[in-house]
Symmetry: C2
Subunit: 533 residues, 2 copies
């Protein structure tokens, strides 16, 4: 794509067409400045097939904010809309709307609350709440979902892989298998969620995490074709990078050629006063080969060199590798724990694509709209009960039990503060027989999760660094029950409604059922749903 086209395709028109047709409708019907509240939330944890997540890691907010600040309708964008014709050949967007859009088509009227990046998050909990003029809040839907869904998906996968690898160094290697420039958002999310570094050079520099990488098979092949052999390639590498010498040993034969050659080169390096870094294995039975590699490196006098594993890794493959090492290493005189602690994981495709579940099912739903100076809850009823919205302007709380473990996320009406209640009823969002009662004595802390991010389009929030996000993430994951952290069949974390919110929701559902199906009948939502803000 040419760079001028890129500005069109990645600017404010990076949205779905229906957001624009709806915006014109709101303009024409006088609803354009009507305050509306939308929530971004996901409905299900990523389900990878054989296994599924028990929590997610939020990510993507800062880049969304950057996009919002830059996005506006430029004359070129307006011109595209002006030329757009409908089925009958007539113009779809009219001059009055386009004129309004050129002046008012920014996100300067938006207020936003959000759960910060790096935090543990759960289904049906609003991660971002947008309040603003209906037309522009609607246009925001697609770019918001695009950016938050993907980064949250990848931060989550990175955290699972990090957990599976027992906190050993994790490198993100996915640029070649990502969706075009989406690779960079993926790298950022991976760094937030659990990767320590990435191979992706540009974005790593931008984010301040030095990129990692040494050499590929092609370098060894080139030296072989030129008659220098693998050893020649390794020597050339060690010559130029004596203090960063990590050698890929599987171009010809890992055990017969690669590792013996690496050890020769390491011996030379040591004689010259350098410490070799290690080897990388990129094919074959990685558990078996890493045991043999450890044995050979130990015998060669290099027990501290790293063994980097790559080749279609993910959380299950790493789990399997560690299990096999624990069973098999002693047979070869290798201490399995020492070996596991020298492993480094390079994870590409299955991290950057979140293989098994390549999209988070995050949605952006209207939950309230201004009517006569009040925010009126809005509902979408569905035959699938869990798809029926939790309506209205709400607060989000995390409840920690006496063990200092998070025991539930709680959605409340905006005038409720569960910290003040002696007794809290946690209602299941859809099943009326399921609830739980907590007394203040059961509770160590109740933490509000949403922070104010934008007011009137202005940033009112100190954006944390990625280091801060990582600390936050680490603390949040540690405060999860171990059952929730399990890679397979995790315990289901509770996301609950207060009694007040439950009653509002049920009342609205009854009204919609009774009166909503007709056509001209007014949906009697206003009576039930007083302004709560």
């Amino acid at each position: 794509m040419k760079s001028s086209d890129r500005m069109t395709a990645e600017g404010i028109l990076f949205t779905d067409q229906y957001q624009l047709t709806m915006a014109q409708l709101y303009f024409r019907t006088g609803l354009r400045e009507r305050q509306a509240e939308f929530e971004h939330f996901f409905r299900h944890y990523p389900d990878y097939g054989l296994h599924h997540a028990g929590y997610c890691i939020s990510a993507g907010l800062e880049w969304l904010l950057d996009w919002m600040q830059q996005a506006r309708f430029r004359p070129e964008d307006i011109e595209y809309l002006r030329c757009h014709t409908g089925g009958a050949g007539n113009r779809v967007f009219h001059d009055d709307f386009l004129k309004w859009l050129q002046t008012n088509g920014t996100f300067s009227g938006i207020a936003m609350r959000a759960i910060p990046e790096g935090r543990v998050v759960h289904p049906n909990v609003p991660l971002v709440v947008v309040q603003g003029p209906l037309a522009m809040a609607q246009i925001l839907e697609t770019p918001l979902l695009n950016q938050l869904n993907f980064q949250t998906l990848i931060a989550t996968k990175a955290n699972r892989i990090h957990q599976s690898g027992r906190g050993q160094l994790l490198l993100e290697f996915g640029a070649r298998r990502a969706q075009d420039r989406g690779a960079n958002a993926g790298t950022r999310a991976a760094l937030i969620g659990g990767a320590d570094f990435s191979s992706n050079a540009g974005i790593s520099h931008v984010l301040g995490y030095p990129p990692k990488g040494t050499h590929a098979h092609s370098m060894v092949q080139a030296f072989m074709a030129l008659g220098e052999g693998e050893l020649g390639a390794f020597r050339a590498y060690a010559d130029i990078y004596p203090d960063d010498c990590l050698l890929l040993v599987d171009t010809i034969d890992t055990l017969e050629s690669g590792i013996p050659n690496a050890i020769k080169v390491f011996e030379d390096l040591r004689r010259k006063g350098h410490s070799p870094v290690g080897i990388r294995l990129d094919s074959g039975d990685l558990a078996y080969l890493s045991i043999q590699a450890a044995r050979m490196l130990d015998e060669g006098g290099f027990p501290d060199t790293a063994i980097v594993l790559s080749n279609n890794l993910d959380e299950l493959v790493i789990w399997q590798i560690i299990t096999q090492i624990q069973e098999e290493a002693p047979r070869y005189g290798v201490d399995p724990d020492c070996l596991v602690r020298r492993l480094v994981y390079g994870v590409g495709t299955r991290l950057i694509t979140s293989a098994g579940q390549p999209a988070l099912d995050g949605v952006y739903k209207l939950v309230a709209i201004q009517n006569k100076n009040q925010l009126v809850p809005a509902l979408k009823v569905s035959e699938t009960p869990e798809k029926t919205l939790n309506p209205g302007h709400k607060l989000v709380w995390r409840v920690y039990d006496r063990r200092d473990k998070a025991t539930a996320d709680l959605l409340s009406l905006s005038d409720e503060d569960p910290r003040q209640a002696q007794r809290i009823v946690l209602r299941h969002p859809t099943e009326h027989t399921k609830y739980r009662v907590l007394l203040q004595d059961d509770i160590l802390e109740i933490e509000p999760l949403l922070v104010d991010v934008l007011k009137g389009g202005d940033l009112v929030y100190d954006l944390p660094s990625i280091d801060d996000m990582r600390l936050r993430r680490q603390a949040d994951v540690e405060r999860l029950d171990p059952g929730v952290r399990r890679l397979m069949n995790p315990h289901t974390y509770h996301v609950s409604l207060t009694e007040g919110l439950w009653d509002l929701k049920q009342g609205l559902i009854r009204s919609a059922r009774t009166e909503g199906c007709g056509s001209d009948t007014r949906v009697a939502q206003e009576a039930n749903a007083e302004e709560r803000t």
Copy 2:
């Protein structure tokens, strides 16, 4: 991301770190200008789990070329590299290399041959062949794979969905579930592979395909919350878009509310001289609901309105919907063929992520390198035979049989022309007992597939329009055997080697086996591998 950072992260540093460390090594060892040949190919068709592809559609080339033309080492990029330190705190990239890179770090020395976008392609066939100075040809690896792998993956998925939908209108709806800006590349690839239009506004305008979209549930919800009901929402929409009136009918209840309200609005429109476009169904049993919708619309006097289906569609879901319609529609007095011909498919998540297989396993491998003014074939041996490279500078041919169906893709040495041979032996790439003999009488046409795209960095190729790519794609798919086009268990298309290439490969493998495992021994490839270009 700030826009200045974006220039860093999406410019020439949009590559893996090891490409840069290898480039410095080639600089230091005097190999930087050595001519090298790399091939991009994929090893396997996408495997979606229950089903897998029997062919792919190539895409992504034009955007790669755009990227290559813009990419160069800016002073800011050089500065990042200058500041990059290794494990011992020392600088990784040295001034001599950086100085060379700032002057020479462009793709102006690259020659490229490629299979054009939109063409049917198969595993192990080089889609792009890059020849150029070793250092820069190496740096190209990551951005090339990133762009070609993803677009080919999505063009392929789009074609499957298009086939499954029997050529009915297919709309790409995936922006909210894509990888950040990667959405745009996905939209482009979908348009090449099988989608007719997209909802993604900006990129649709850029590519010249008007974006499609009408309204979301939120619009109906807003009108409901304001007391206007679904009918109020539909009337407002019809008022503003009388000639493009397509209504989403499942916000409350599809059959009880949505469709009856839509029909009322359609009647008003018709009275005013407009033709309503149709309805969209986004939840529930789409087969059953579309039968009922068809019945109600027929009875209402609107037999020509479209029925747009969306909600987690893919090729299997569409196949199932059509099958169910064919079985069930007659029971309700609805003609199934008429119904299928009024369907339109809106496909989001599962198209833009290529659900089931979210990455193409395309690789970029060194196949030859210059030695003493000759291009010497390079080999990578693998314990998995199909991972052993097909070495050397090659040509690619497609052989059509007497039925005018493609029967094999054939890789040959560069001095071979199978069009001149009376008898062609097609060797299986790895199994020596498997081969096929074709006589000229069996053959209708032998077509060379690679075209010259870049010479000395200059474009020597007329880039086709997307319309041209679509025509090409359509023609190629029609020339596939129906068995190869099957959605499930497709017939395996033959990708073969000529006798000459087979002999070269076997000779190189023997040499590598005999002499390559040692370390200082020269790999005796040069003797076997004379210059063939």
